[in-house]
């Protein structure tokens, strides 16, 4: 865990943070999305970004 953490791509991490923040803000502002969906959404954001990072 700590080993792979050192390999984290800062750009990918930034994108993840940014997207989670925006997703949360949208949720917070609109209160349309249910919370369990947020968990899924965040998981997907992380997944997508990590995969995208892999492609890069």
């Amino acid at each position: 865990m700590t080993e792979s953490k050192t390999e984290l791509n800062s750009h990918v991490l930034y994108k993840i943070k940014y997207k989670i923040y925006n997703a949360e803000r949208e949720n917070h502002n609109t209160k349309i999305l249910a919370k369990p969906d947020m968990v899924k959404k965040i998981k997907k954001i992380i997944d997508d970004q990590v995969r995208e990072g892999d492609r890069l």
Partner: protein, 670 residues
Amino acid sequence: MIIKSISIQNFRQYKDFCDVKFATDRDKNVTVILGLNTSGKTTIVQAFKWCLYGETSFSKKEMLLNSEVAEDLIPYATATIKVEIKLIHENREYTICRSQVCRRTPDGRIVYDRPNVDLSYKSENGNTNYIMPSEVRNVINNILPHDLSDYFFFDGERLQEITKKDVVSAVRSLMGLDIISAAVEHLEKVIEQLQASLSLDDDELSAKKKNELNKAIGERDAAKLRLENTKKELIAAQKLYDELSAKLKDTESVREAQRERENILKIIDGAKLSLETAKSNLIKDFNRDYFRYLAKPLMEKALETIKISTTSMAGIPKMHSESIEHILKRGRCICGCDLTKNQGAVDNIRFEQSLLPPHHIGTDLANFNNTCKVMLQENARYLLNETINSDYCEIRRLERQIADQEENLKEISKKIRELGEVKEITALEDDYQRAKNQIADLTRRQGAIEQEIKTLDSQIENLKATIDNLATQCEKNDLIRRELAYAQAAYDWFKQTYNKQEKEVKVELLNSVNRIFKEMYHGTRSVTMDDKYSINLTTTVGSSQIETEESKGLEAVKNFSFIAGLVEVARNKARKRGLTNLDAPESDNEENLYSSEPYPIVMDAPFSNVDEVHIQKIATILPNIAEQVILIVMEKDWVYAKQAIGEKVGANYIIQKVENSDTHSVIRRI
């Protein structure tokens, strides 16, 4: 964001169409709306919130439609509530119009349709562009975040008492803590889920299967080696077998001779046995018939001699003189005649007795004659001569055959002696048989090894497939581990951000509050905020800060300072574009800078329950905390405030109740 105007219709008390144009001039940026109690001051602030965010803080949400309009509504008729705000944001003029259709049902109820929002802006060429309905909410939030709206559309009654809850919620919404704490909460769940989806067993299983695979491959290689060896052995055995076969082929003639000899021996034995039988047949046949054979000429002669034709000689055949004696003794003839009374018959019988043996030879001669005749007749059937002859011929034939075969035997034995030793051939045959067995054995073994290799091959294939599957899972695990690391890093970041921003906002808020407080209050007191968000006034005595007692007026000033500070921080926050405080790897920091966008403050009854001195002080500070001030106040309070900010007022309105009605007000410009 600067608000240009608001127009209201059918919204609560505002039955008629009311249009309020706000002061937007930089020097005269204050708009004052005067109103009595219950005239509809709070309704104006609520109209802003309803138009922008679709919400109000009225206890009865369904009472938005003007009561008089609602009362007049006949079944199936409709009325529309409408609030329209015009504002300028980032040099673009937006028009936000929220409307809601209400209808009377046949059973007398009033039903509200879903509110409709239209958001449009004027582009540089003067065209009106409409924002997609799905984007409206986001665009409004971009203009003025919903979270911060409470500090721009301010309920004056909250000035009276700033609660700890207010501070906490202010700090939370100002620093986006709700968002970040929600993100932290969700990230915790994400991390939990990711950890749960890690399949550690698969890694171990994969290693185990790999070991099994290596073992199977090793076994297969060994089996292949064994197969090679077996094949070599088989080739060698085949060679030996071929050699032995060739040798045996050479000795085939010997064996054939041997077989022939055995046959001859068998024939000889059989012939000898037949000879014995023939000999015994000859003797048997002779013994049976020799008497007749020898007696035949004698009997013919005797018959010639005794050929005497006399009937007198002939007695009663087979009758004996003793039989006659018996008949005479009993006195009764066989014909039933009483002999005692018939002497003639007795005499006749006595004559017959005289012809019978032993008294008469004639009878015996007659018997002999008959016997000879019978014998001669029988003799004609027995061809003794021929029988004996044929028996003898058979004996001779057999004897010749035996002699011939013995001659053959001698020749063959001589040949065998010439060809070689039988023992050697047997040994050769043994070797040949052994080689044959060995070949069968090796072939069997080869088949078994091939089968074993086939089994191992399929086992290896299966193991490879399993390992491939597991490898996919292992790859998945690797990905999950990376995701987990990112999620953890994001989680740590959000946590850190939470702490950092909380601290920053608290410091910023406290600085603003203190600055504003000092502008309004000229003394040594200052505002402090502890870790638990309690606001206190302290004064410096010597070198230490001590808490001070507060008068009601001082408390009002303190609270207003706090509100003004909040508004200031909120304004700064709203001015920040994009995502705040994200430690971006790229240098897009410019985006995070404050913009110079102006912001309004709409205050409802800010001076209620505040004395005239403080009204003036509060009023003085108001134009400094916002570029546009919209005050909705009671006339009695405005008298004092006017002295402080009168010259900044750009627009004046008054709310009037129509015919003193509580349900119908209008706003007029003065």
